[in-house]
């Protein structure tokens, strides 16, 4: 794991959605570009590429992060999850949150959706009860189509099992 001598290329071994990948990458390669261009998983979208929009959000070792603000080299040895990991493998069905987005028209162009889904996937719904807390949680993801109302509705619906009926519209 230790790299004592500064180097322009780094050997990385990164698990993405349960599959191990080994590559020799330029030190400056961003995790977002590694996921899209090196591994070929293009469900992760790049909006602003400087940490404002949240479209590129992925999960690294359980935490939601901006993949445009990390180097692939920093993720060596880590477990990464992307939007491709959400729906059950080998079926046409969606994850409950994806289904709730579909049912509530919580996307229009869909560019930001993967980022929203990964932020939501990373947290324990029990820590984010009530509409106000959901809005706070989603404040790090920008959507330019929906006006957010339908996204919050989708989350409220998908998490109603955790939050109980009637409790989700507090705040």
């Amino acid at each position: 794991m230790t790299i004592r001598e500064p180097t322009s290329e780094v050997d990385v071994e990164i698990s993405i959605n349960g599959r191990r990948h080994r590559h020799r990458v330029p030190a400056r390669l961003l995790l977002s570009d590694y996921i899209r261009d090196t591994v070929g998983l293009t469900g992760t979208h790049l909006g602003c590429e400087h940490g404002y929009c949240g479209a590129c959000t992925v999960i690294v070792d359980g935490d939601a992060v901006r993949s445009c603000l990390m180097l692939a080299a920093q993720v060596d040895g880590a477990e990464v999850r992307t939007v491709e990991d959400l729906a059950p493998a080998g079926s046409d069905s969606l994850s409950p949150m994806q289904q709730a987005f579909h049912d509530n028209h919580a996307l229009q162009c869909g560019f930001c959706t993967a980022g929203f889904l990964m932020t939501l996937e990373s947290v324990d719904p029990g820590d984010w009860t009530g509409r106000e807390r959901i809005v706070e949680l989603l404040s790090g993801n920008l959507c330019r189509c929906t006006g957010y109302q339908n996204i919050v509705d989708a989350v409220t619906e998908a998490w109603s099992a955790y939050h109980g009926s009637g409790g989700s519209n507090d705040g």
Binding site: I3, P6, R28, L69, A73
Partner: protein, 288 residues
């Protein structure tokens, strides 16, 4: 957007990190990278060797004792925010971190990195100054400790010399019975503050006894509101707000004036935040 090419290393000890930092002139420490990587993506900063301290032994710790909280250089803001011990000892840390970025930023961003970055609009440098934090620094000449009050020199400019890195910061516990309030005016949730205030207030018998008041987003470094600290002693909720507000306005007369807000607006905003903080501290004192 990509950063320009650079060399990368991942030391496992502070000594190795210092050695790598001193191997070239334009070396930088990579901790959370939530400010450094965007600056590199924009090509605003020139880095030839990037020293990733994410795997340096012993730097990712958050340690609480009755006297204060010590945060290692690789400990993330989320780690500090989620630590059950922190809020009981240094309540200001949780109060400040709630305003810092978004979940995804706090999951990577570090407390020490925010101090090293020294953004004039950031909460943590102001908290460090208000609470008398001490910053531990390692460099080629060994270790030294710098009081937060001496650490911030100008916008994005600290007492860190070339080849030095922060190893930890110690936030001492505030006086018993005091309450720390971090409040700010910002245009969007999670964005940098237009202007803000860290106030540690001691009250008894329904009046403020004393307070440590430090503003941010006002000048190049956290701004101690000295005349307001003098004016606030003895202030009670039924006293007129004007003398206190005027003292803050005098302390902040040369606040930043830019596209986001005029100098007068920032000054007025921090005056209002100060009165609000004094009122909340007194209300909290009555409730407890």
């Amino acid at each position: 957007m990509k950063p320009a090419p650079f060399d990368y290393c991942r030391p496992s000890t502070v000594a190795e990190a210092v050695e790598a930092l001193n191997s070239t002139e334009s070396s930088r420490v990579l901790a959370g990278g939530q400010s450094l990587i965007p600056a590199m993506n924009f090509r605003l900063t020139d880095v030839s060797v990037l020293v990733d301290i994410g795997h340096v032994e012993g730097l990712d710790t958050v340690a609480c004792d009755p006297g204060g909280v010590t945060v290692g250089a690789a400990a993330t803001q989320t780690q500090v925010l989620d630590d059950d011990g922190v809020a009981g000892v240094v309540g200001g840390l949780r109060a400040a971190l709630r305003h810092v970025g978004h979940l995804q930023i706090r999951n990577r961003g570090t407390v020490c990195g925010s101090l090293a970055h020294a953004d004039p609009a950031a909460e943590l440098p102001a908290l460090a100054v208000a609470s008398g934090a001490v910053i531990a620094v390692s460099g080629p000449d060994g270790e030294r400790r710098v009081d937060a009050g001496d650490f911030f020199i100008g916008p994005f400019w600290t007492a860190l010399e070339d080849g030095e890195l922060i190893t930890e910061v110690r936030f001492p516990a505030p006086p018993p019975g005091s309450v720390t309030i971090v409040d700010e005016i910002s245009r969007r949730a999670g964005d940098f503050a237009v202007a803000g205030l860290v106030a540690t207030v001691q009250a008894d018998g329904g009046a403020v006894r004393s307070a440590s008041l430090v503003g941010f987003g006002l000048g190049g470094v956290p701004t101690r509101l000295e005349s307001a600290e003098a004016a606030i002693g003895g202030w009670a909720a039924d006293h007129p707000a004007e003398p206190l507000a005027e003292a803050v306005m005098a302390d902040t007369a040369d606040a930043f004036d830019d596209i986001h807000a005029t100098s007068w607006y920032r000054s007025e905003a921090v005056a209002a935040l100060t009165v609000r903080a004094a009122r909340s501290a007194l209300a909290a004192g009555e409730a407890s």
